[in-house]
Point group: C2
Chain length 318, copies 2
């Protein structure tokens, strides 16, 4: 039987999303599995496999599945392992031979693994805006809780010597800047993630007495900052300008590395496109060598956020 | 007749070096041609071709030349053009169709062109330390008058979408830092080139009254700083520590992009290995994510400086 379908799985700290996908990126069946609190990898993976097999059954494509693609934090393409992923209790303190175990539990269907930002880049290439615009060289930046990246060079994902290439969220944006969750200082992620932008707002509120819709709010999130900006709040608008300026300056450095045709932004914070686009593009161009100035496109993902994680992971399996 | 030899040409602002090279990196014949002050590309290229043909004749390998590889400032692999190269009067104000013109003037021998730092990386891969150590993922950083780079990923040079990938000398090392020759601020080149290191020394001498062997010297060069450091001069030693610290911090960002096995340093300033190695390595590791800490090698080119430019360019022609 022809194998014209794949399964995409996005493994997250809160839940895992799975779907059966055809070659055009249509999701035939989908499911969400709540994250297990178990620290036993075998138990977690067996449960996941049960969900996968049930979903394949439900899709009516049993026997037609070419492979399973998985995007997971700290997933390694070369080794098939998930290692030291702080948000996954079953893979937080060591290395789990994930691809092999899941494949065995799914009756031998081949499993391919990479990290979530790489999966997002593959999704954009196979189904998204990079496919639409026929772009073969781009850098995907995911602006979520953290900042991730996937680098596509000549239509192929860059894995580097060890499978970990593309940790652009932890390149230095501000020398000796804010402490980042990774332990280093001044990482791009500390400024341009959803958490980073909210932190900027909180810091500025503390440092000044400026009036703002955000003043007095508890546990300010990037969504709060977005809503305030929408309502014309000046401090909130400046937060996006600042965030975009730092992001754009870093993007210029990335362009000078791999000379892509485009940067593609995705993730929660990228939904604030209306506030982020201009300062980011300006800072990128201001910091580029003349040979690239005004030549590199700044794009936003064209995939629906609900589907993107599944599609990205599924793209690995073709 | 088997074509087992190539010609390597390194085009510089002062002179061009050429050599006939065999597969093991042995230079059978070599020549240096003083740079022409002519602004006529045809005249300059015809003169160069005359030199090339004479050298081939002298080497006794006429009819056995597989190709000509050329490293030149702003040389583009994809287009074969040299464009807006400030140090080459005949290619300073426009784009010269170099490869095509040189090939025609050399009786049709194929010509392949790239920039000088890319050529250096190819030389290291074909004949140098990357070959010795069987390293397939590395970043070559040339610390000369400027800072150049060539990025090898899975044994291939990274050209990017337009042939200009790898301008790491113009990534930002110090946000809003020193003005660089390119017009931007804080570029790595403004600190870690030979000129940058000398500039650090001059700035520090001006800012303090600290005793130093360099005090009172006119037109301090990086060689002067090196000689002073050799003699134990504290300010000069600190210049190298500072230069290495900035370099290493930037190297960490580059590792987080492409996850190479090694960084290879080359060029005039890299001769100060004894003073640069430790601070550079320390800063790189201090700024790396734990997955790479103490795992990426910091190497120095194993090629003789006099040969490296010719060998690097020749490596293109295989």
């Amino acid at each position: 039987m022809a194998k014209n379908y794949v399964v995409g799985i996005d493994i997250g700290g809160q839940s895992s999303k799975l779907g059966v996908v055809d070659e055009n990126g249509k999701i035939l069946a989908r499911d969400i599995i709540k994250a297990s609190s178990s620290s036993d990898p075998k138990k977690v993976i067996d449960e996941l496999a049960k969900g996968v097999l049930a979903l394949i059954e439900k899709s009516g494509k049993k026997g037609e599945i070419r492979g399973i693609g998985v995007g997971a934090p700290n997933g390694n393409y070369y080794t098939g392992c998930i290692a030291y992923a702080p948000n996954l209790p079953w893979a937080a303190n060591g290395s789990v031979d994930f691809s092999k175990m899941l494949s065995e539990a799914c009756g031998g269907i081949p499993v391919t693994l990479t990290n979530d930002a790489n999966a997002a880049a593959l999704g954009e290439r196979k189904y998204g805006i990079a496919k639409e615009l026929k772009i073969k060289h781009f850098i995907m930046i995911t602006l979520g809780t953290g900042v991730g990246s996937g680098i596509i060079i000549n239509d192929e994902l860059l894995y580097g010597s060890d499978g970990f290439a593309g940790e652009l969220g932890h390149t230095c944006a501000v020398r000796d800047g804010r402490k980042c969750g990774c332990g280093k200082k001044g990482c791009l992620e500390a400024y341009c993630s959803a958490i980073g932008a909210a932190r900027t707002a909180r810091e500025w509120l503390e440092e000044s007495k400026e009036e703002s819709l955000l003043r007095g709010k508890k546990d300010i999130s990037s969504k709060d900052v977005y809503d305030a900006a929408k309502a014309g709040d000046k401090l909130a608008l400046r937060v996006f300008e600042y965030t975009g300026t730092i992001l754009g300056s870093s993007l210029a450095d990335f362009v000078e590395f791999s000379a892509p045709q485009a940067i593609v932004l995705f993730g929660g914070l990228a939904n604030a496109k209306e506030f982020l686009y201009e300062p980011t593009l300006k800072a990128m161009n201001d910091n580029l060598l003349p040979i690239w100035r005004n030549k590199v496109q700044l794009l936003f993902s064209s995939l629906k956020e609900a589907d993107a994680a599944i599609l990205g992971a599924s793209a690995l399996a073709w």
